[in-house]
Symmetry: C2
């Protein structure tokens, strides 16, 4: 069966594209990336229109975008291979200022080279590490010099936990006091730097042996911890006796009036395409577009730490193989994807997306106090989760769809802090970092994300406006008592940035001016409920700022253009900036009643806590997209009522020890406290009034039985 | 068994207190409220210290606070009855400016009086309603006149749905065009007003019959809806085969190192007392303290709509009787409470608090890409939920505790909009309201809540500071590349208000200056992660602003004083203001290293959507309290790993129709998409480097098996 035009690259397509490139040269190729180059939107609009109408037309050709180097040279190329037609339709050598993403193969080689370097050996001897194994963390290099065009990596040194020397010990609890810079083309160490061990920037070289710190609990791996796991937690299982409520056909998901496709590529990982509700288009494409992690530690050589985790590494490349019963509960479906490695081999990313339903509490409830009848509907959600591991750090991303037409995007940050050493006896106040263990310093840093929202609210031509709630002017006839307030809507007519403003209850409305809601008499719309957070803290003349285009404003609006997917530019590794969203916004395109794209930048400003070590309890935020006059009334009206027959809850049994059997029988509803008879009430006169002390807040079950 | 000093009033205690008051008079008493008057904090500190140390001392006497009127008079009294000693220890007649909360009995009587009034009858005849039953919504009156001291209620008129005339039909879809004001002492109608039917303030009286609107789906009650419920949703059950992980003893809850007591009273409903983690005090008392719902519709007579739902009615009085399998899933424990009605009878509020565990996804995860080993720990939470029904509206409040030492307070708003009529043919732009159905207008309004936080971070003397993240100054030696940023901490030394500032990543730190964290070398602390939202929009010279003390700033800090629990004052009904938190802050008390209280005001600015009708999909927000250097390391390290043996998830089965059996057998992990062999990888050299395309993101299960 032929892939859908929006399906990810198949292994066969990737191999075909790689082989076409191989055939061009008789020198070895260092492959970097390959994945689907999506069809131009103009073509896809036609295709999807026909598909939605049930009259499928011939799909556009399948294209694969490949990035590669001539091995051991700075010569970088990008090519688009039309695998349907069997030919290269785009082929370009990139300027020397451009660098492709890092890859495991070259970084591992660089680490081996570093370990073999005499100066590194001398440093390790100085430190007198005994039998404890050394662990190296190669980092993408960053940028601090206009003229530096070599492809470089910076390598930080750690050891395993001396107490166990285990390959699974948490080496971030045992940082060493020097680092090395390796040229990835020459494959040799070009510089060694000593790291500061106190608040002051380093002045002298370190001479003595390692002064080992002693973190209280350095290990996250249960098998290496000093104490056994607690035994107090009893199982909690999500059981779906009749299976899931969603239907998965290839990459097409249908669930509770939602219909959409799940894409995947090396860079963005999970992507949602062609999202419709009840047959009405809502979004053309939804994806995390980029991520920048600048560190606040100003001390040379740590000032370069600032990684574009999507552009430099890839959310698809680093996606976890998710496991049943570990990463989610209930009935789980998995989707996989494929990438390539440096040799051009296809690598399967198995089970890199999991799909399951969640109960999120109450969707709506009302008790009619006049009759005591309660109506309750629960909030069922569909979650699509992907988890990426970027060296020390983990990110969990998931899309959450619900029955009310809402879509949320949740970001969770967990994993291990990137640490640097501090003299265990040092007690200086460090204004830009936190001590997270004896001898272990965790610098402040930001995680700055950008969510790309390509809307299609009942069609592709939409308008973004922001709506504030503001007091009505004092006016003897219109606002005589000063109690009135109103909304103020401002349309975004040309490509630009917009600030968030929670103190004005600002929402961002994506509307379709050519479709009026018959109830509200306003254009049909969705609203973006953004995360109001901090922009990039690095100075505006810093390299961080020059390179991280999208990080100094929360909301960006651009006119849609093909191949404008990545707001810090297509090539972020050691980048110089200037090719990202700032330049697109500067075009001053019309974006009113236009095919436009909204980009939402949001930030975790992460000033570590001791509680974030040795591993970090997940921090999470959610962005919401909600209908606002898209529907004529609450679309969950017909969700069946919540009741015990369906939900099978159990009453807490204070006498219960262990074993499921005793859970089966139900106890009287009242398990605690003194009681006069439950009917010691005023008779409900069943008329009206505020709900008071007559206890007629009935139960939904009793009202339904 | 004697109640704990912090346990809610028992039925016996309430009856005893009511009878002592009854005996004082030979005229009839109109009782308003009765509940526990908590012991002075000075006494409780001693008692809890001894209790924590396992050397219980004699508990303080039990006190009951009673509010009552001499029936049909404006004479209002408050009394504190010492039920242990059997005597009244405080007794005071309140000034005429003070009014007790509304109650069902008097409001029902007022509604009957209105229906019997000739002018009301004439209006109903004019409207020609036929057989459709009239429904009355009495509202607390509000305030718009300095000299108005009568106890009043304002009554809005609706009808049932003419199509079904059912007592459970949604009358808010069928508003009438007039309202009445009733004197609650004289028990007679004192005024009739016609309501505006367009954007303009009303100028003339209405003369014609009702012009009936035709909302598309007016009914939330499934049995009255035009369409049957959908059948697409399959059951999702939370099963805890070994029961719950928490222990409930009376009102004491112990769960995963947490220990606390659950209080209850007519006004605040659920209250948490004496919250400790691993034996260390964290919070003395946590409660929702007040709530104000001002409407933005400026038009007379709607300008008065502004209700204090706690002070005027009571979150305990309106608490729902929660039902197994309707309001939550899993193994549920319930707690009950007691209030009194207008006759002084004790009324049981059965099952008004439910307690259960929730799985909230992943708590932490890391994959060691060097070995492929993944460690995953799930985020188990304990939730305590209460749901209140205030006439048309529902609020869901719950406390969420987790294993990492975090406490969250979630607020959900649902229920039915308070509506007013609009001419079905009118098409004016209404700047302060939304059409939610033909003929039905829903005015903009705000829900302004205040959460009272009485901390005890390792002791009662704490300091509040706010911490911003700010760029480091450009400095050739200290910040040579402009990448550095730092935190700036500002201590609150005297009682005052503080602004939120998400753009500075501002957090509010509650620390204990006399206890230093040995890892961070900073005082142990918790942080408040506030909701940054809009303050009261009504003008500062409006009655709304004068009365709603707490609504014009997000954070308030006061020195602790007994009987300072309610930030808009003890008597909010028809209040004039001046007795709330503004006056406490004005004392300029020292609050540094003091027993102080933090008050967090947060707002839903609710500009209705058509999607919010006929019933509103829940809107929710969460406030978080998180340890920040309270612990030496992540307190969840010893939570057992997440694995399939414990969680029993099932793989999605595309062939499954219905029936649980076919769920049992598991399919191969790969259910979708083409695959080359999963080992088509680069061999992992098991050393280091960023996590790349070598696919060693192992699964936790495989790593554990």
């Amino acid at each position: 069966m032929a892939p859908h035009p929006l399906d990810p690259a198949t292994p066969e397509e990737l191999e075909f594209a790689v082989n076409i490139i191989r055939k061009l040269y008789d020198v070895p190729i260092h492959f970097k990336t390959a994945g689907l180059e999506e069809p131009p939107k103009a073509e896809m609009k036609k295709y999807l229109e026909a598909e939605h109408a049930g009259q499928p037309v011939t799909p556009p050709n399948r294209w694969i975008l490949v990035m590669y180097y001539l091995k051991r040279t700075p010569r970088l190329f990008e090519a688009i291979v039309d695998v349907t037609a069997g030919k290269i339709i785009h082929h370009k050598e990139m300027p020397r200022t451009h660098h492709a993403p890092v890859d495991r193969v070259e970084l591992n080689e660089a680490a081996q080279v570093a370990l073999a370097d005499d100066r590194v050996k001398k440093e390790l001897e100085r430190l007198q590490l005994g039998d404890t194994a050394v662990v190296l963390d190669p980092w993408d290099y960053g940028k601090d010099d206009e003229n530096e065009q070599r492809r470089l990596t910076q390598i930080f040194f750690y050891t395993r936990n001396p107490k166990n020397n285990s390959p699974d010990s948490n080496h971030y609890a045992f940082p060493l006091d020097f680092m090395a810079i390796v040229d990835l083309i020459e494959m040799k160490v070009v510089k060694i730097c000593h790291l500061p061990l106190g608040a002051e920037p380093i002045t002298t070289q370190h001479t003595g042996p390692r002064k080992l710190g002693n973190p209280e609990e350095p290990e996250y791996d249960h098998t290496l911890q000093s104490k056994p796991p607690r035994t107090t937690l009893k199982p909690l299982q999500v059981i779906q006796p009749d299976g899931a409520s969603f239907k998965l056909t290839g990459r097409l998901i249908e669930w509770e009036k939602w219909r959409f496709r799940v894409g995947f590529n090396w860079r963005e990982g999970m992507v949602l395409h062609d999202v419709t509700f009840d047959g009405r288009p809502v979004f053309y494409r939804l994806s995390l577009s980029e991520m920048f992690v600048p560190y606040g530690d100003p001390r040379d050589p740590l000032h370069r730490k600032g990684a574009f985790d999507l552009g430099n590494v890839g959310a698809g490349v680093t996606a976890n193989d998710l496991s049943l019963g570990c990463d989610c509960l209930g009935v789980i479906a998995y989707l996989s994807g494929h990438v390539i490695n440096a040799h051009g081999d296809v690598v399967a990313k198995n089970n890199c997306i999991c799909i399951h339903e969640v109960d999120a509490g109450i969707q709506w409830k009302h008790t009619n106090h006049r009759t005591g009848k309660a109506s309750v509907v629960r909030k069922r959600q569909l979650q699509l989760q992907t988890i990426i591991t970027v060296a020390n750090y983990e990110y969990i991303f998931y899309w959450v769809l619900d029955q009310s037409g809402e879509i949320e995007f949740e970001t969770r940050a967990t994993g291990i802090l990137s640490t640097t050493p501090i003299d265990p006896d040092n007690t200086d106040k460090i204004p830009f970092a936190t001590r997270v263990g004896n001898g272990v310093l965790a610098p402040y840093h930001q995680h700055i994300f950008n969510l790309r929202i390509d809307p299609a609210i009942d069609g592709h031509n939409n308008t973004l406006s922001y709506v504030d709630s503001v007091p009505m002017p004092q006016d003897p006839s219109l606002n005589p008592y000063g109690t009135g307030y109103m909304t103020k809507e401002t349309k975004i007519t040309t490509s630009s940035t917009v600030k968030t403003d929670p103190l004005a209850a600002r929402i961002f409305k994506i509307s379709n001016p050519s479709k009026i809601n018959p109830v509200s008499l306003a254009p049909v719309a969705y609203k973006l409920v953004p995360i109001s957070s901090q922009v990039l803290l690095a100075n505006t003349d810093s390299w961080h700022h020059r390179r991280a285009d999208f990080c100094d404003a929360p909301i960006w609006v651009t006119k849609y253009n093909d191949r404008e997917l990545f707001p810090a530019g297509d090539y972020t590794n050691q980048s110089s900036g200037g090719e990202g969203i700032r330049s697109w916004v500067a075009r001053n395109d019309n974006v009113e009643n236009e095919d436009m794209v909204i980009w939402h930048t949001y930030t975790f400003t992460h000033n570590p806590r001791p509680e974030d070590f040795p591993i970090m309890p997940a921090e999470s935020v959610r962005i919401a997209l909600k209908p606002v006059g898209f529907f004529n009334y609450n679309p969950t009206m017909d969700v069946p009522p919540s009741n015990q027959a369906f939900n099978q809850s159990k009453l807490y049994d204070p006498t219960l020890q262990v074993g499921a059997d005793s859970q089966v029988s139900e106890l009287p509803a009242q398990v605690n406290g003194l009681h006069i008879n439950g009917n010691g009430h005023v008779a409900a006169n069943g008329v009206h009034g505020v709900n008071g002390a007559n206890g007629t807040n009935g139960s939904c079950c009793s009202a339904r039985s």
